[in-house]
Symmetry: C2
Subunit: 361 residues, 2 copies
Amino acid sequence: MSENRNMTPAMFIGVQGEGIISFGSGQPDLPPPKEVYGILPEYDGFRYGLIQGQENLRDALVKQYPLSTADSFVITNGASEALDLALRAISLGERKNGGGKPRCLLCRPYYYSYLPLVEYAGLEPVFTELREGRIVYEDFERKIKDCRVVLINSPSNPTGRVEAIETLKEIEKITEKLGVYVLSDEVYKDLIYIRKNYLIKGPHVVTINSFSKTFAMTGLRVGYLWSLDKELVRKVIEMKSHTSMNTSIIAQEMAYTATTVPKRYVEEQLRIWKSRRDMIYKGMVELGLDLWKPEGAFYVFPRIDNPRDFVWDMFHDYKVITYLGEWFGAPDRVRFSYALDVDKIEEGIHRVKKYLKTRRR
Amino acid sequence: MSENRNMTPAMFIGVQGEGIISFGSGQPDLPPPKEVYGILPEYDGFRYGLIQGQENLRDALVKQYPLSTADSFVITNGASEALDLALRAISLGERKNGGGKPRCLLCRPYYYSYLPLVEYAGLEPVFTELREGRIVYEDFERKIKDCRVVLINSPSNPTGRVEAIETLKEIEKITEKLGVYVLSDEVYKDLIYIRKNYLIKGPHVVTINSFSKTFAMTGLRVGYLWSLDKELVRKVIEMKSHTSMNTSIIAQEMAYTATTVPKRYVEEQLRIWKSRRDMIYKGMVELGLDLWKPEGAFYVFPRIDNPRDFVWDMFHDYKVITYLGEWFGAPDRVRFSYALDVDKIEEGIHRVKKYLKTRRR
């Protein structure tokens, strides 16, 4: 019975326990580079920092983003706050210009926070359906014309897919022409198995990024947004000065240290993720599940019959956390994060297999 | 000339520099208790924490709040985020019930973030004017009847005044009777010179607090809200799971350590604040300024002629940061934070005196 089971991601985030295997939150299991902790023994900061973020951290980011200066960045409480602030600032600006509720285009399936964030910000969601986990440009083009903002996410959580560079270039062109804001959530940009990341460009592009996935620093909460739209950056800083003030200064200093770590840390991480990807994908295919092969990030998103029963029973009877596809706008699927070591992935797949067998009886 | 001077608090927060004396942001100059840094050398956390906040920290807070359990708290990115989330969650709930824009009562002068936060949340501000920096209950009672939520702040930033316990009890009674949410911002509760704090109670009271002022941890960003309204707490957690996720785990651990520090730390701080209060109050009176004697917090709020010129000139010509009264809804005043050592307070007053003399010529 899945009635009266008001399941939400918030129930599972941060949940740990003896024997639990969590394919739930996108939580890398391997620790951050050790240098990140190196600054702690001498740390003595306590004062307010700049609302926009620490200068050393923003200066370090400039090297990764062409055409930018330290003024193009705002350091935030993870990518979540960057998204929330950008959506709220855009919505506020549009509503001050009058007119109805501004529309925001979402690509479905989407990361589960997108829809609540769009609604909290007072925007009206409009959807374009992904095909095989990727944007169908014709539909995108038709729908974007009525929107003031679009949220894209490549590599995608939950689909694990990466958009074709041609699609991203078409999106650059049409959104620049229409003057539409593009929020490009690229938190998995360093976890792509098939090519380098393509950084989308444009006068109203806002790139959302974070230290959480690349450097396994999820709990420390350091993200940022980057934009060449100076007016929007100014509005975000003004808003953040009231809604949360500076991002925690100690976490920012740890993030700064992460930017100084040799590139081979990220390369080694990618190698590990790829072997896990291969393993879970093979395991799921062997279970007979229908899924897309991940090209980036660390999620598989198979179709599952009776997904509410599946997620509930797997948690309560098999101590396996998985996430309901309906949270992501795909009610016939279940999301598995493979941010686990291979032994746990194997054990988890084993439990799924056992459960699916009981269903077939 | 004060035209084209678009001054905002965000311009001044975190600004430091050679020779600058900042009466600006409410930034304690003395460091946190040294124990707070004691956990850092061994610290190795990196995973997502519970959205609601770490259990050890919430358990420690239970001892300070009667009738509560660890479930009554949500740990946030400073008091700012606690206010923002509470206002947004209340507004969202009210708007789902239909009807017009819900009204929020503000006591004017107010902390400068209140008005933007109320507007961002889609609430309609309604004002009751303070008299001598305190609530006039007759006016409060008249206006509260049309409101769904009220924000109170005792000790008050910027007035430095503390509400009479009788007034707070009247507010408890009428808001409980009307079913109105009370957000009670008590971030200065440990900095009262005239009596102990009175913790306001009620089924829809949300107390906002923080480690920033009591333990001089502003830049680390750990605040919280406390409420016996379980439904509201649930909504805030749900919202935070999308807007920022857990509060930085390392900052929470530092805050937890602060709760274990002997009480004499807070008593010693209070002694220092009181002597500074006495000094700046005397200095301002000697300058002939009209102001209220602070009873809590660390602000004085004198009347100043041409306040925009004053704030601009003091910063540009005298390297003294002060805050415009108009940000607080009091356009004839200027706010001075006295979170400075006595030498700097003395030098700052000296510069103000010099400047005021040039004006009188």
